[in-house]
């Protein structure tokens, strides 16, 4: 007769929980397919619980050697540390994340400045790169006293003559 996984699962449960006298007729039928008699079932049931108790309470007269732990710790301290994940990634995005995660404020500021200048440079017409934008001399003149720019059209002559 086929002894399926299911039968064995049920049998293990029965051995742990029910004496033969409390089994249903279906359960008895199953038990008697695996054991020759009620006495054998009861004997195995007792043995299983006894063995479980003995094994869980069993202690050894010897202990693990403490030197093992020391040796393991020494080996562990000699192992190379793994590389930080960010540094091993090559993408530009990861590099930016790494740079901006830096704690140095000055470094961040410099980086932002470079980024700003680069953007300005790229957006500038090619012909104008490398030269100062021309100043319209008809509408502006320099105040030589304080180096500020004035719109001559908005400043009255009276004010200039005083």
């Amino acid at each position: 007769m086929e002894r399926s996984d299911r039968d064995l699962t049920l049998l293990e449960q029965l051995l742990q929980t029910k004496p033969f006298g409390k089994l249903s007729s279906g359960e008895r039928e199953l038990v008697l397919r695996f054991f020759d008699s009620e006495a054998e079932y009861e004997s195995i049931r007792h043995h299983t619980s006894h063995v479980e108790g003995v094994l869980s309470a069993d202690t050894l007269s010897v202990e693990p050697d403490p030197a093992i732990e020391l040796r393991l710790q020494q080996t562990l301290s000699m192992q190379p540390q793994p590389e930080p994940k960010v540094a091993t990634q090559s993408s530009f995005g990861s590099l930016l994340v790494f740079l901006f995660s830096s704690k140095h404020l000055a470094f961040k500021t410099s980086l932002l400045t470079i980024a700003f200048i680069s953007t300005f440079w790229v957006s500038m017409p090619t012909g104008q790169r490398g030269s100062i934008p021309p100043i319209d001399s008809t509408s502006y003149h320099a105040d030589t006293f304080n180096n500020t720019w004035y719109d001559s059209s908005s400043v009255s002559i009276d004010f200039l003559q005083r």
Binding site: L8, S43, H47, T48, V54, S56, L60, P64, D65, Q79
Partner: protein, 179 residues
């Protein structure tokens, strides 16, 4: 285990303290109660963990993975021992004789325990492992099947028949049979 992979010493110590006695017990019982061998195997298994933590199979629970490594180490050792089977049998007879002479001063429980492990030593490595993991470690059938890398049905059958065989061998200790 993630921290151990990053060579975190504290995480490793935690794992070691949590498992070293259990693993030592397993090796001791699996390898015929030879202290030195169990110590060596204990060091080897944790050394593997220190040197190659990336081998940890994240699909398994750590305890299941650790015992599957331990099981494979024992399996290899059993293969080596098979070559020296005759010598081992002679040694076990000596141990049995020694135990008989000591029996007068031992309690029934000690006698039962000694006899249980002597009978376990006569079983195959697979039967012994399944039995210890089930009744000592309290692993589920599913976990044992992962450790032994076999089906759950095979584990159930192995545990059941090992138990039945041991019960027959140890029936002298069963009070039910002593009426």
């Amino acid at each position: 285990m993630g921290l151990v992979r990053e060579r975190n010493a504290q995480a490793f110590n935690e794992l070691y303290h949590r498992y070293h006695r259990r693993v030592f017990y397993y090796f001791y019982r699996m390898l015929g109660g030879v202290d030195e061998k169990a110590q060596d195997f204990l060091q080897d298994i944790f050394m593997k963990l220190v040197e190659k933590p990336e081998y940890f199979d994240t699909s398994k629970r750590f305890s299941t993975w650790l015992f599957s490594i331990a099981h494979n180490m024992c399996k290899n050792e059993y293969r080596k021992l098979a070559v020296r089977k005759v010598i081992d049998n002679e040694a076990s007879v000596d141990v049995a004789q020694q135990n008989e002479t000591d029996s007068a001063t031992r309690t029934d429980l000690n006698l039962f325990t000694d006899q249980l492990f002597r009978e376990l030593d006569q079983l195959s490595e697979e039967q012994k492992t399944a039995f210890l993991l089930r009744y000592r470690e309290g692993f589920s059938i599913k976990e044992i099947s992962q450790v032994l890398d076999c089906s759950e049905g095979t584990v159930k059958s192995r545990v059941f028949y090992t138990n039945k065989k041991l019960a027959l061998k140890l029936e002298a200790f069963n009070p039910i049979n002593n009426y």
